[in-house]
């Protein structure tokens, strides 16, 4: 699907795709998925992130740190660019389900429909779901 690359220069190809399907705070799934992304980038892999289902809530702006003095995930998301992780995608349908638009989100992920997500998965050697 070459049109994706034309849209904003974000390649849909890469070595590792992290599919993030959990909201922050309720569990450590999101944090652990992001940790893997950072490890991949530290090993010079091309890492892409797909925020899917309730995972889109990770990107909701205006979040604070978790209860019990836990660190939030926003600082880690902001840090992704320092690891050159800039291939960020979000499930369009999940955005609609939660009534979200791009302006509600931090970062600037690219929205994908089903076909786009299938294409994204097809073009990564390793797909890890968190």
């Amino acid at each position: 699907m070459p049109y994706l690359e034309e849209q904003n220069g974000c390649s849909t190809k890469g070595d590792i795709l992290l599919v993030l399907r959990h909201a922050p705070h309720g569990s450590s799934w999101l944090r652990e998925g992001l940790d893997i992304a950072l490890v991949g980038a530290a090993f010079d892999r091309d890492v892409s992130l797909l925020f899917m289902g309730e995972g889109v809530l990770a990107l909701l702006s205006g979040q604070q740190a978790g209860a019990l003095g836990q660190k939030g995930t926003h600082p880690t998301l902001q840090m992704l660019e320092m690891y050159d992780i800039d291939a960020l995608f979000v499930e369009q349908r999940a955005m609609e389900r939660y009534g979200l638009v791009q302006e509600d989100l931090i970062l600037a992920p690219q929205g994908l429909e089903e076909a786009g997500m299938a294409d994204l998965i097809k073009h990564h050697d390793l797909v890890l779901t968190f």
Binding site: A42, P75, M79
Partner: protein, 118 residues
């Protein structure tokens, strides 16, 4: 990762004792001060000059912003952004903080060990 295990104490000139973990990282990063940095640097056989302090400040900024100490790649990028491209090179950081710059500078800057530094 940050450790809470107290392994030994650094003793400052004013008699204050600062707990450090088995790898030499501060157990409580709020204990950090310029004197603490000098002692930690001395343990790594590093005499801190202006170049070192500039990098230490970049790394402490990084932590303030992202709540994590940078691994090598983001360290190089952050230093390049803040101090200029000629400083943002691994060779420069290797010279200032020999061995494993990301780990050494995090330790001297009083931050936890970089979590994803492999």
């Amino acid at each position: 990762m940050a450790s809470t295990e107290i392994y030994r104490y650094l003793v400052l000139n004013n008699g204050q004792s600062i707990p450090v973990d088995p790898e030499g990282y501060l157990v409580d990063r709020t204990h950090w001060s310029l004197d603490v940095a000098r002692i930690l640097a001395k343990e790594a056989s590093i005499q801190l000059d202006e170049e070192h302090w500039a990098v230490i400040e970049v790394v402490r900024d990084f932590y303030r912003q992202y709540e994590m100490a940078p691994a090598m790649r983001p360290l190089v990028k952050a230093v390049g952004k803040q101090l200029g491209a000629e400083k943002g090179r691994s060779i420069h950081l290797m010279r200032l903080f020999p061995g494993s710059p990301a780990k050494v500078v995090a330790r001297i800057a009083g931050l936890p060990k970089p979590a994803n530094c492999l």
